[in-house]
């Protein structure tokens, strides 16, 4: 996985900030993504409580213990990816590959929970067009799910990248940037889980 720099990447380039180009560029991308999710979340909050003609309400649908489990899995995947980055930096190539694989697997588990939840809600009568709650809920959490899916594809590509000899120090930068993305997706979920699920249950 290489987003090459103008000077190639076989030798580390001295930059003005001391931060690698790819990492700085990626931080900028994540800051932009923050606004993206903020706008979606604002949409959810602006329309909060607009249930239309008696569709199922969040109170009737949300299963906090179930979603807590999937949240826990996603949070643990963040730990796994940290250990993956650390192992790669230490030159522990096989272990890094293992941790990245574990991260991808936990991401898939989270997506499985989400697929189950969407399916369940759909059968309870909540669709994209049934009410504003349906519209905003599916679009907000759906975009997060799409980000997780992209992250899983990314991690699997890393595994392909390291299929011979694992993910060693030469690939630590690649693992680190994928890890940044993964943490970001996790943090977004922490916000969504709190605002969409927990605050709803508390009200």
């Amino acid at each position: 996985m290489s987003l090459e720099t103008a000077h190639g990447h076989e030798h580390a380039e001295v930059t003005n900030t001391g931060i690698d180009n790819r990492k700085l560029g990626f931080w900028l991308f994540l800051s932009s993504e923050t606004i993206f999710f903020a706008c979606l979340l604002v949409g959810y909050l602006v329309y909060h409580g607009q249930n239309g003609e008696g569709g199922p309400t969040p109170h009737e649908l949300f299963n906090i213990p179930l979603t807590s489990i999937s949240t826990f899995v996603l949070l643990m995947s963040s730990l796994a990816v940290v250990l993956g980055v650390f192992s790669a930096q230490q030159g522990n190539a096989k272990a890094a590959r293992g941790w990245v694989a574990a991260t991808a697997a936990m991401g898939l588990v989270f997506l499985g929970f989400q697929a189950y939840e969407f399916n369940h809600f759909y059968h309870e009568g909540l669709t994209l067009s049934s009410s504003l709650f349906g519209t905003t809920f599916y679009v907000l959490t759906g975009f997060h799910g799409a980000h997780v899916a992209v992250g899983v594809i990314w991690l699997l590509s890393l595994l392909y990248h390291g299929r011979k000899g694992g993910l060693g120090q030469d690939k630590a930068g690649d693992v680190e940037i994928a890890g940044l993305y993964w943490h970001f997706v996790d943090i977004v979920w922490i916000v969504l889980f709190t605002v969409v699920y927990l605050l709803e249950a508390a009200m």
Binding site: E4, I19, G43, S131, V139, H161, K164
Partner: protein, 644 residues
């Protein structure tokens, strides 16, 4: 990496240096800049043609040159084209070409992403404009966007726009947004990370500063329109309810999201133009830019405040007196840093030995017209007067004064100024002056009457009007103005073509200019700098040429030398020293392939066509994995005499 390159890098990296493939696969920021410029100019002519038809239709009362429906499509596409396909990318052309040269870098931080930005822009622009083709083939589809350039909700919802227009508009702008965002990340990274040794941020040429602030605006404002467009797309394609009033949706929410993007967007259109003018004025006044630091802070302040004023586009919505007052005040506050800039430009010329070249004339035209546009903008900032002016030609006057008199004049000035650097030839100055005076007179004749028409109550976006309101004279004058303006632009094209027929051979520094890009040959070599320059002061090149002026300018030579010395040490440590050869990034098919895949996916969504969608997705994956695994493929250029 080598093994991976064999298996997934399915096409070897191309190496063609001339011909079609070399342009298709180039990652050179200078070539990409030229492609941006040429493409944007063609779109500019197309948007101009749309404007020409609008003005012909409005020349006299009750004309029926075009139908009301076509008129709606014309003004929508005129604005969309000029903003997203002409002015923004023309400014991006300057950023691409100049930024690395100004900061002493060999390319941008991510050359392939830079190429990707261009291809997504080109394909996105073609995407929106294919709606015209479809409209001609099958008028019942109502394919051309016709809901206005800010696409207000419920005009764009299925109930009120059953045709494909808003779909073309929504998906097209989403496609364009991707490339723009990527450019934003790329330019910020380049500026923060790749400046030449010694060039602290406060020694950076002012145009690079405006590029930095503009890029920050891009990466924080485009997500808002992305979300708005996605919501609209979900409403239209998948029957979601975001703007469905019957389900409780709020159409004003669209306006908030759109203008949260839309107001920073107008600064995206003007800040780089201000940067261009701030480079032209010192060069032809033979004086440093007056109050450089204040200019930098004003730019940053305008950028920041640009996020705090969006609701002034919505005073007539009925947000209440408190909200209106707050947004009126924040809007008026923006006039302060803007006014500071205008006075700094005037002070830059004050006492200078001013040379009235074509570029300088355009810069002066900019100052005058932009000030008029700024003053009418200030009038809109007052909610009571805004209530009188909103949706009248007064608003149309304002936007044309800041975008033509502002951005376009700066762009033309920039073309005359940097043409020798870009193409190695000098444009004809005599034709250039005719070009300026025709455009200046034509533009004012065309847009100034809009003030009168607006105050006389002529609403914007009407396709015709009855005689007897007193609007006849000024509409006629305005249309004549467009003819004169068009003549000026045709003269520019003539000048361009004639100049390109001349052989290459301009001096590196024909204007006796000040900043680092002029140290390279005209046009610069692919690698920009044999030796990465070491910068010790602001306007470094000027003081290298005229060391005796440096002391007078108050730059302590001792201090400057210390900095240069320290910078030189860093420079050596970084391996920039002579004799190493210059590493050049490899060309690639992948940026164009990826952009094409995304565009095909857009068409697939638009027509709900599974085959196109699948081909698009395959193209995206092929582009991304080819990109990731094609390997480095760069070349090393050995430059003779790299030790000087």
């Amino acid at each position: 990496m080598a093994t991976a390159a064999k298996t997934l890098g399915f096409i070897p990296r191309p190496t063609a240096e001339t011909g079609f493939v070399s342009w298709l696969t180039t990652v050179d920021h200078k070539r990409i800049g030229i492609m941006y410029g040429v493409t944007a100019f063609l779109f500019f002519l197309f948007g101009g043609l749309e404007a020409f038809m609008i003005r012909l239709q409005l020349m006299k009362p009750n004309l029926d040159l075009v139908t009301a429906d076509t008129f709606n499509a014309l003004f929508t596409m005129h604005a969309t084209t000029m903003i997203f396909l002409a002015i923004m990318p023309m400014l991006a052309a300057f950023m691409n070409f100049l930024l690395p040269l100004q900061i002493g870098a060999r390319d941008v931080a991510f050359p392939r992403l830079n190429a990707f930005s261009y291809w997504s822009y080109l394909f996105g622009g073609l995407f929106i404009n294919t709606s015209w083709l479809l409209q001609v083939m099958d008028p019942t589809r109502r394919a051309v966007p016709d809901s206005g350039w800010f696409g207000y909700a419920n005009l764009t919802t299925v109930n009120f726009s059953g045709g494909m227009g808003p779909d073309f508009w929504t998906i097209g702008l989403l496609l364009l947004g991707i490339g723009t965002l990527v450019s934003g990340f790329n330019f910020i990274t380049t500026i923060l990370n790749m400046r030449a040794p010694g060039m602290s941020l406060m020694k950076m040429p002012i145009f690079s500063w405006t590029t930095l602030v503009t890029s920050v605006l891009v990466i924080f404002s485009f997500p808002a329109i992305t979300v708005a467009l996605l919501m609209l797309m979900f409403d239209r394609q998948f029957e979601a309810n975001f703007f469905n009033v019957a389900a409780g949706g709020n159409v004003v929410f669209w306006q908030h999201l759109f203008w949260t993007f839309g107001h920073p967007e107008v600064y995206i259109l003007i800040l780089p133009a201000m940067g261009i003018v701030s480079e032209i004025l010192p060069t032809y006044s033979r004086k440093p830019l007056f109050g450089y630091s204040v200019m930098v802070f004003s730019t940053a302040l305008i950028g920041f405040m640009g996020f705090t004023v969006w609701s002034h586009h919505m005073f007539a919505v009925g947000m209440g007196p408190v909200v209106n007052t707050i947004f009126g005040l924040t809007t008026m506050a923006i006039a302060i840093p803007t006014g500071v800039k205008i006075f700094n430009w005037l002070s830059t010329m004050w006492g200078g030995r001013v040379k009235f070249t074509s570029a300088m004339l355009f810069a002066l035209g900019f100052i005058m017209c932009f000030t008029i546009g700024g003053l009418s903008g200030f009038m809109h900032a007052l909610p009571p007067s805004n209530a009188q002016q909103t949706d009248t030609y007064f608003i149309v006057a304002h936007i044309h004064y800041v975008l033509i008199g502002g951005s376009i004049f700066a762009i033309f000035g920039g073309i005359y100024h940097w043409f020798p650097k870009i193409f190695g030839r000098l444009m004809d100055e005599k034709l250039g002056k005719w070009n300026f005076w025709l455009m200046f007179a034509g533009f004012n004749l065309f847009a100034f009457p809009f003030h009168f028409l607006g105050l006389m109550g002529m609403p914007r976006r009407i396709y015709t009007y009855d005689a007897g309101f007193g609007w006849e004279l000024w509409n006629m004058v305005s249309t004549i103005g467009v003819w004169v303006l068009t003549l000026g632009i045709l003269l520019f094209i003539w000048n361009f073509v004639q100049t390109m027929r001349k052989p290459v051979g301009t001096a590196a520094d024909p204007w006796d200019a000040r900043t680092t890009e002029w140290t390279t040959s005209s046009p610069p070599p692919a690698y920009n700098f044999k030796e990465v320059p070491v910068i010790s002061v602001r306007d470094d090149f000027w003081y290298k040429k005229y060391p005796e002026k440096e002391h007078a300018a108050g730059h302590g030579r001792g201090k400057a030398q210390t900095i240069a010395h320290a910078a030189g040490a860093v420079h050596e440590a970084a391996g920039h020293g002579g004799g190493h050869g210059i590493h050049m990034p490899g060309q690639s098919y992948m940026p164009a392939l990826l952009a094409l895949g995304i565009t095909l996916l857009g068409y697939g969504l638009l027509f709900s066509n599974m085959v196109t969608t699948v081909i698009g997705v395959v193209g995206i994956f092929a582009g991304m994995f080819g990109w990731a695994f094609e390997g480095d493929g760069g070349t090393v250029i050995e430059v003779a005499g790299g030790d000087d």
